[in-house]
């Protein structure tokens, strides 16, 4: 996979997890917003602190509406926290920082552009010339196994193909940090395995820091080096768990690894204790 190896970083060689130098530091972030309908104030994130190592693959799990997507947007600088701060590579995030790629829950592809034009936009924004960007788009689509998408508009593609085109666009932007917001939630079970595998293989290959948000605990364990569980609204970090399954991983097969069940059981124990504590307080 020559195309992807080109953007591989030394940090990727050792996925050292939290012990590596910090890529992201989220310190005491609280985000409150005023609801449009009744002007009442809601808290989306409540005093969230979090540290992500360079090259780490972190999964954030939580029930819907717990603010996990909001947290990603805060890290990307798309939303400004009411309190607290976010630092990427030690620099405080004020506006949108460079080198952060976001894969949205809806694929976010422009319906009026073909697959390769959509991907080329990412490459253009990474500073490539128009012809270079187009070339790059074709390479990436081939690399991700969606050559068939070339020349087609998003409405002509299946959900799984659109996801891969969206990932290609993000890769084309050459980020040093990938933020994935429930990238597989809209896919059916079979497509999810197929696309999930493409994603994990590609992201392992690129070796950059990744944060994936999901509501699927098994998916989180299968993919990540570390899983953070968030509580229901207001979003707080309820539990944190290190996963030491061997890499390279497989989106589906990893779940049959003997350590998987053990880790899932341990995580579940932590969660139950956490939930019990919540009910008593």
């Amino acid at each position: 996979m020559t195309v992807l190896e080109a953007i591989r970083t030394p940090a990727a060689v050792d996925r050292a997890g939290a012990s590596a130098p910090a890529k992201i530091e989220v310190a005491n972030v609280t985000l409150r917003y005023t609801r449009k309908q009744d002007q009442s104030e809601s808290t989306a994130l409540d005093n969230v602190s979090l540290r992500v190592g360079t090259g780490e693959f972190l999964a954030i799990v939580g029930p819907s509406g717990c603010g996990k997507s909001t947290l990603l947007k805060v890290i990307n600088g798309l939303l400004r926290p009411s309190e607290g701060s976010v630092r990427i590579d030690g620099k405080p995030v004020e506006n949108v920082p460079d080198g952060v790629g976001f894969v949205f829950q809806s694929d976010g592809l422009l319906p009026w552009r073909t697959a390769e034009e959509n991907v080329a936009i990412g490459a253009t924004l990474a500073g490539r010339s128009a012809t270079d960007a187009r070339q790059r788009a074709l390479e990436l689509l081939t690399e991700l196994g969606v050559q068939r998408a070339i020349g087609k508009h998003p409405h002509e593609l299946s959900g799984g193909m659109r996801k891969r085109v969206a990932l290609a666009r993000t890769i084309a932007y050459e980020p040093k940090l990938y933020l994935l917001d429930e990238p597989f939630s809209a896919l059916d079970a079979q497509t999810r395995i197929h696309v999930g595998n493409r994603f994990i293989k590609t992201l392992e290959e690129i070796g950059q820091t990744v944060i994936i948000v999901t509501h699927d605990l098994e998916e989180a364990i299968a993919l990540a080096d570390r899983v953070i569980v968030m509580s229901a609204a207001p979003g707080r970090i309820a539990a944190e768990f290190k996963i030491d399954l061997p890499r390279p991983r497989d989106y589906y097969q990893s779940r049959f690894h003997p350590d998987f069940r053990r880790q899932q059981q341990q995580l579940w124990d932590v969660l139950q204790r956490e939930m019990a504590g919540e009910l008593n307080s």
Binding site: K73, L78, V100, F102, L110, R113, L125, H155, Y252, Q253
Partner: protein, 280 residues
């Protein structure tokens, strides 16, 4: 890669390819639709002819045959071209003015919610005002030439375009904006790739409504004060009980409207290829 995922990629492809029989069925449906439309037109013309001859009387509603004869005469003496060109110019120039102003106004209102909310009551007030009632003033201010009528047309078209463009900007997919913002795209990139393309369906819809309004505006303008044009021809024919003349001008107006709409449909096909529903 596992065997499982390899196999999974195949069924997806097969189902996304439309079958040849489906395509044949679609072209048959298109042909049948065209024949239906032709039949409807012929039916109406025949019904009109019969009603005029045996029921209502030719002196009230003329007849298709007489209208056809008049069209031929007017074509030969050149008056058809003069009147049609005059009305076309008024409607077209006015439409362009209205659309251009509407786009600019709609963009400003779409981007500034505060401004939009501040002037909304006034805007809706003017929008609800029958703009036709402004016609005499335009004639006083701008004379009886092209400019007065085009301005009247523009005053009718501008609000529909403005309100639509505003709505178009407000309803842009949040994820598209966030995707571009997250990649630190410039304002220009956002406009070029997201804002303007998102707006186009709304703009085209408003132009479709605007075409009808433009012809109303042009004709009303000519009724108030003019020396040529299809509206003027209707009123001057009516004043001497020349029903054939009045209906001839109306038929030409109708054809003009159809041409405008057809041109817009071509534009829609070019600009909205990415929308699966438009082709039907």
């Amino acid at each position: 890669m596992t065997a499982l995922s390899e196999n999974l990629s195949k069924p997806v492809v097969a189902s996304s390819r439309p079958a040849a029989s489906k395509r044949r069925q679609r072209s048959w449906l298109a042909l049948r639709g065209a024949l239906d439309r032709l039949a409807a037109i012929i039916f109406m013309i025949v019904a009109w002819q019969l009603a005029a001859q045996f029921w209502i009387g030719e002196k009230w509603i003329s007849t298709p045959v007489k209208i056809a004869e008049r069209l031929w005469e007017m074509l030969l003496d050149g008056s058809l071209q003069i009147h049609t060109w005059e009305t076309f110019k008024e409607a077209f120039v006015g439409l362009l003015m209205g659309v251009a102003l509407g786009i600019v106004g709609g963009m400003i209102l779409g981007l500034s919610r505060r401004l939009s909310e501040a002037i909304d009551p006034v805007l809706m007030g003017i929008y609800s005002l029958p703009r036709v009632s402004l016609a005499p003033m335009f004639v006083i201010w701008l004379g009886i030439g092209l400019l007065a009528k085009a301005t009247l047309v523009a005053s009718m078209v501008v609000f529909v375009v403005m309100l639509n463009v505003r709505e178009g900007i407000r309803s842009i997919d949040r994820d598209h904006i966030d995707a571009f913002r997250s990649m630190n795209a410039s304002r220009w990139m956002m406009w070029r790739h997201v804002m303007i393309p998102s707006m186009i369906p709304w703009l085209l819809a408003s132009i479709r409504i605007g075409i009808g309004m433009a012809l109303v505006g042009a004709v009303v303008g000519e009724l108030i004060g003019a020396s040529q044009g299809l509206g003027w021809y209707v009123s001057s024919s009516s004043s001497i009980y020349d029903m054939t003349g009045a209906f001839t001008a109306l038929v030409v107006l109708m054809i003009l409207a159809m041409i405008f709409n057809f041109a817009l449909s071509l534009l829609e096909k070019r600009l909205m290829f990415w929308r699966p529903s438009v082709s039907s």
